[in-house]
């Protein structure tokens, strides 16, 4: 909900005030976005007992510390509000109030007045199943950490005692104490690994968790056996600290995935608004999208995003389809025309009859293209899994060979041979490998989040790192997807203000563009909007018109030739031309040339007209471009590139790009993109700049090289440790030192991802 757009001059006021808070500016930037009405949230209110109701909201434009105070303070001040608690990490707000004293609409109204956009969500649907998993891991980590510290404390005493002369009885006591701490801890903290290993084995496969479980269980069993017969060496410390290190890696991986999931859920539920259904008796009911059925009538106000696919049933308007087709100008729409969800009604209020998404519509075609395209990508195997594929069998083979070698060839006792085989399992255990990937990726995703980029998965990062070609879409990607006045300096300020005073009444993209440059103006009274034509009003005795050439009564040969959209203002036979072009993102040229310098091939695929595409391509220095591309054309081009051995990163935003985003090896979308595109993309970036594309590519490459460094370090450690262990020289002390130090080295190396600089533009963007 954007309150500034309710008052015609609201935006201009904010732009004129340089000291406006971050949130007001954020609200102003989202001007052209859909309006969520307070009435929309009504269907998400959960009514409880005793007249107490609950509502869960996601606060969209919350960036600074003072937002928490403003929101909670503003809400708690209202009579009837029992709880208003904002989670600053997830941006989710929980409201509880007394129904007798206030209602949802007025509370959402309070938030709107503060300049916050909110959208409701269903907490049951975003259920915290992942969350409990997370907590279990954290508990297991705490228990194993506690056990590792205490067992290590006792073990150090035993090691010191072996060098000096600790009594037999004391050592036995120490071993029994270690067993007492370690065994319950292993039984509790080892469950995540045992479970996964068991399921792998029962399906006849092997994974990383099999050698881990084997090593831990065998080490514990053997150590208990040694303790009962009063032996010198026990491995309780090694088995619990092994679990501890591995749990850290697993937790990092898990919490990374949860952070990304919750951010993605927030993004998607932003669109989960309700539609206003017109009942058979003519009543207006706000209904959640998923309970809308074909045949229902839905009212769509001017400026609203269409919630459903359908056919226009009444009214005449213009529909902004830039999100679906990439076309930058609104299309006039009459009764009987098909309209699509996700497009914006910029003209007059209309009624839409809901249709099912049947075969042959644009949307169903795009959905089936996307499904086909995604199957290709599912073949990608993550680096860590590729590693595990040969590592686990190799570890088993080496341990078995060690046992057989000592038992059969060297003639050791079976206990002695088994003990040495266990040390091999312990030292080869993939502590470092288990940390190598998640530690780097968690750091990389955190760094990207700070720069306003949401990486949706860790393997997206891996895929992006091996990309060599970047393909851009035009409208909404290289450009901002909003028109901008070209000849501002050739037009008298008075004329500009005159035009803006008419435009204040309209939500047409060209009107919004005029208002942006004109500064604050008083809106004219009684402006009439004729859909598809323009605006007219009378001021005194003269009639003023703003709109198409014919509408303003201008002859065909007047004014300058222009290939983009234009508006004419006519008043008392004076004609003034306003020419518009789609705005290129401020740093697009810099980013494109930086990409080319870094050795990426850059291409432009657009669904727009030839001259518009050629102009942008020339301006940005892109030599390879295609125009008039359908979604199929884009996929075909990506397939050709893939067949030539290129790995392509697709950057696009429209619904028509969604199949290409799903088909490409990796993909990036701006935050303003269509639902389907954001779902298909691996990365989503916010703000007006294109630099996040560069930053994502750079971070991906840095993190890949860190992952490889970590693998190398872990491998080098194994090359030294395995021969030592297999030759029977590794005492528990050696195993403990080798294991901890390799884990530490790998983690410290991973932390270097945080050191690289983040491009400075981002800070300007998000302050």
């Amino acid at each position: 909900m954007n309150v500034t757009s309710d008052s015609p001059t609201g935006t201009q006021n904010i732009q004129a005030a340089p000291l406006a808070s971050c949130c007001e500016i954020a609200a102003a930037m989202d001007l052209a976005d859909e309006v969520i009405r307070p009435a929309d949230v009504a269907s998400y209110v959960v009514a409880g007992k005793d007249g107490i109701s609950d509502l869960h909201l996601i606060v969209r434009n919350m960036h600074c510390p003072s937002c928490v105070r403003q929101i909670e303070g503003g809400l708690n001040g209202n009579p009837g509000v029992l709880t208003a608690r904002l989670n600053a990490t997830t941006h989710r707000l929980h409201l509880r109030w007394n129904t007798a004293q206030t209602d949802a609409a007025s509370l959402v109204g309070v938030l709107a007045d503060l300049g916050y956009e909110v959208s409701p969500y269903d907490p049951v649907k975003l259920a915290a199943s992942a969350n409990t998993d997370d907590k279990d891991l954290l508990k297991a980590m705490a228990v194993s950490g506690f056990a590792a510290a205490n067992v290590m404390l006792i073990s150090v005493a035993v090691w010191a005692g072996l060098a000096q002369d600790m009594g037999e009885a004391t050592r036995a006591l120490m071993h029994w104490l270690s067993a007492l701490i370690a065994l319950p801890a292993v039984a509790y903290a080892g469950r995540p690994f045992f479970r996964s290993a068991l399921s792998a084995v029962s399906h006849g496969r092997t994974n990383m968790d099999v050698p881990i479980s084997l090593a831990v269980l065998l080490a514990c069993g053997m150590s208990l056996f040694e303790t009962t017969r009063g032996g010198d060496h026990v491995y309780f410390d090694a088995s619990v600290s092994l679990l501890f290190f591995l749990l850290i890696g697993r937790f990092l991986d898990r919490s990374l995935r949860r952070k990304v999931e919750s951010a993605a859920q927030n993004l998607l539920s932003l669109r989960a608004v309700s539609a206003t259904v017109i009942g058979p008796d003519g009543s207006y009911v706000s209904t959640p999208i998923d309970s809308i059925r074909p045949g229902m009538s839905v009212a769509v106000a001017a400026g609203e995003r269409l919630p459903v696919d359908g056919v226009l049933a009444s009214g005449q308007t213009e529909i902004d389809t830039s999100m679906v087709t990439g076309e930058s100008l609104p299309r006039p729409t009459r009764i009987g025309d098909k309209v699509f969800a996700g497009t914006v009604n910029v003209g007059a209020p209309v009624t839409v009859t809901v249709t099912a998404t049947d075969e042959g519509t644009l949307l169903s075609e795009i959905v089936s293209l996307m499904e086909a395209a995604e199957q290709g990508r599912a073949k990608y195997v993550r680096l860590a899994d590729r590693m595990a594929r040969w590592y686990a069998p190799a570890v088993h083979a080496v341990a078995l060979a060690t046992f057989l070698g000592w038992f059969l060839i060297a003639g050791a006792s079976w206990q002695g041979a088994l003990m040495i085989a266990i040390t091999v399992l312990i030292v080869t255990c993939p502590c470092a490998l288990g940390l190598a990937v998640p530690a780097v990726q968690a750091g990389a995703v955190g760094r990207l989040l700070k720069a306003g980029i949401l990486a949706k998965s860790g393997d997206g990062l891996e895929r992006l790192a091996s990309v060599d070609t970047v393909v851009f879409d035009k409208t909404g990607t290289l450009t901002l997807g909003q028109p901008e006045l070209v000849d501002q300096h050739d037009i008298a300020l008075a004329d500009l203000k005159r035009a803006a005073s008419l435009a204040a009444a309209s939500r047409h993209p060209l009107s919004l563009a005029l208002r942006r440059v004109a500064g604050p103006v008083a809106a004219l009274q009684s402006v009439e909007e004729i859909p598809g034509q323009g605006l007219k009003a009378t001021d005194g005795q003269s009639e003023i018109r703003l709109g198409r050439r014919e509408f303003a009564g201008v002859s065909a040969n007047e004014g300058l030739a222009h290939d983009g959209p234009e508006l004419w203002l006519s008043e008392n036979d004076r004609h003034i031309q306003f020419r518009f072009n789609d705005t290129i993102r401020p740093d697009a040229a810099t980013v494109v040339s930086a990409l080319q310098q870094d050795g990426y091939a850059v291409e432009l695929l657009s669904g727009d007209r030839e001259d518009a595409v050629a102009r942008i391509a020339k301006e940005l220095g892109i030599t390879a471009w295609r125009h008039g591309c359908t979604p199929q054309d884009k996929i075909a081009r990506l397939d050709t590139l893939a067949a030539r051995g290129h790995r392509v990163c697709m950057v696009g935003d429209g619904l028509n790009d969604a199949p290409a985003l799903a088909a490409a090896f990796a993909s990036i979308s701006p935050g303003t993109a269509a639902d389907a595109s954001q779902t298909a993309a691996d990365f989503i970036f916010q703000g007006q700049h294109l630099a996040p594309v560069l930053e994502s590519l750079k971070t991906a490459r840095v993190s890949r090289s860190l992952v490889f460094q970590n693998f190398t370090l872990a491998l080098a450690y194994n090359l030294i440790a395995v021969p030592v262990a297999a030759s029977g020289l590794a005492t528990p002390l050696v195993a403990a030192i080798a294991m901890s130090s390799s884990s530490l080295v790998v983690t410290l190396n991973a932390l270097r991802i945080k050191l690289g600089h983040i491009l400075p533009e981002f800070h300007n963007d998000r302050t």
Partner: protein, 45 residues
Amino acid sequence: MTALSFLIPAALFLGLIGLIAFLWALKNGQFEDLDGAAHRMLDDD
């Protein structure tokens, strides 16, 4: 060596206190919102 009879239980006891405190905090939702508390600190109410 008699020192061991109370030093080891003391060490274990202190460690256990830490572990229980952590598990309590986890159950109590102390880690749900790590950023919010830092912001609320600035409230003057």
